[in-house]
Symmetry: C2
Amino acid sequence: MVKRKRGFRKSVPTDSTSIETANKALPDRVDEAYIVERIYSAVMEHRLPPAQKLSELKLCEAFGVGRMRVRRALLLLSDQGIVELEANRGAFVASPSPKEANEVFDARMVLEPAIARRVAIETPPEYLAMLRQHISLEDEAREYSRGADLIRLSGEFHVKVALASGNLILRRVIRELVTRSSLIVGLFGASNHMDCPDGEHSDLLCAIERGDADTTASLMFEHLRKIKDGLDLAPPRPKEGDLKDILGLR
Amino acid sequence: MVKRKRGFRKSVPTDSTSIETANKALPDRVDEAYIVERIYSAVMEHRLPPAQKLSELKLCEAFGVGRMRVRRALLLLSDQGIVELEANRGAFVASPSPKEANEVFDARMVLEPAIARRVAIETPPEYLAMLRQHISLEDEAREYSRGADLIRLSGEFHVKVALASGNLILRRVIRELVTRSSLIVGLFGASNHMDCPDGEHSDLLCAIERGDADTTASLMFEHLRKIKDGLDLAPPRPKEGDLKDILGLR
DNA sequence: ACATGAAAAGTTGTCAACAATATTGATCTA
DNA sequence: TAGATCAATATTGTTGACAACTTTTCATGT
């Protein structure tokens, strides 16, 4: 019989796939939002690969929390397309199909230029400073070849641009899409993957700073198109049930 | 004349707090998504007013479901800003503050013109037909003064425009915002509330049909601005803790 | 009559046991 | 040995009981 040990929340032994790789002290009160947040981060940093099993028990131990909290967090994540729930089989990090990948980038190419345009038109100076600082973080990560950080920062830039609109709803929408994009890049990124080509974030910010709305929107659009074109979405991977088709047994 | 697809609804007397006002046969398998869907609809039709208590027990009875399902549905709804969860007090239909209301319409005025523009540029004909048909439904509801239907249809039009992009992510984003808008209109709508001024949806569709992207985007923007201007967002209602301020006890 | 406070009732939050399903592993057969 | 069959194990899904908290009711004293 397995006895459930609940409540020890310090120095839980974690394997390489653990989402607690970057061990942080857990907050006093771990709620669903916190678990969601941590899984979000792990996905953004490519520490949680697509299709990774997310066992309830392991999550319970990792966060020192009862099963209910974990299940609620997984439900929220599945509602946002970050996690896939399979009945009686459990939760897995989502592995988007090429079709879904297309849809995500399609949505981003519609939404993000509009948001960026708005930011270019009117933005409090403190947000511009934040974006500048972020870009220097990216430069630093690139200089020291800190790949994991660069991946995360590249995504976060887009979230911060949305945040610069001052509208948390827009930030939330983009954050969801950026996180899913992180999974997509992990799956379909070609070997020469430039998640966010070098100078483009800087160019974008320049356009924003000088209030050039049209250029900003178009730079954002092209930027996203470049990322998408860098993916290898051609072969729609067969799904489970398609074996019959492949073997000509229909 | 317009053929009404799903026309008659048996008028069943129900108490005012039931979300099952429009009694439908429950599906065999009621899952979280279904409950969420029904509450969405009830909010869109202004049958569920802001701040309405959503008791777990009553929802369990209404849907013939265990408490777990209801709780999971409420969690999803709260994540989308449709419902507010207060610890140990339960779930209430959200009643957005003027600030939140501003944020919602602000987001819509950024996103929806961009989506509409995209629809104007390229849309499968079947979607255009769907939009035309929808407008005739609106006309019919207006002609027969079926207010509840008109409210719902006015919101649904915006969702369908997003759907016409062929991108379900965009549809989902807009649906969430439209539903929250429904709450906002219920709270702040002036007496002469024109949820969606008469001919504007039709004008918008015309611009879409002739592929005039710029006009489409600008019509959508102005349309939303008009709706927002029709709201009375002036007096930021005091919240709980502000009593001290009011009484000058700070 | 009013305010105060304690008990009662009702609702939500949490947990643990149980049921249902999936996965693993051992055994058997051709 | 490869494959199939079936028991053993592990994981997830569900339910009901109980704890924690809030709201209501009611008794008491001024």
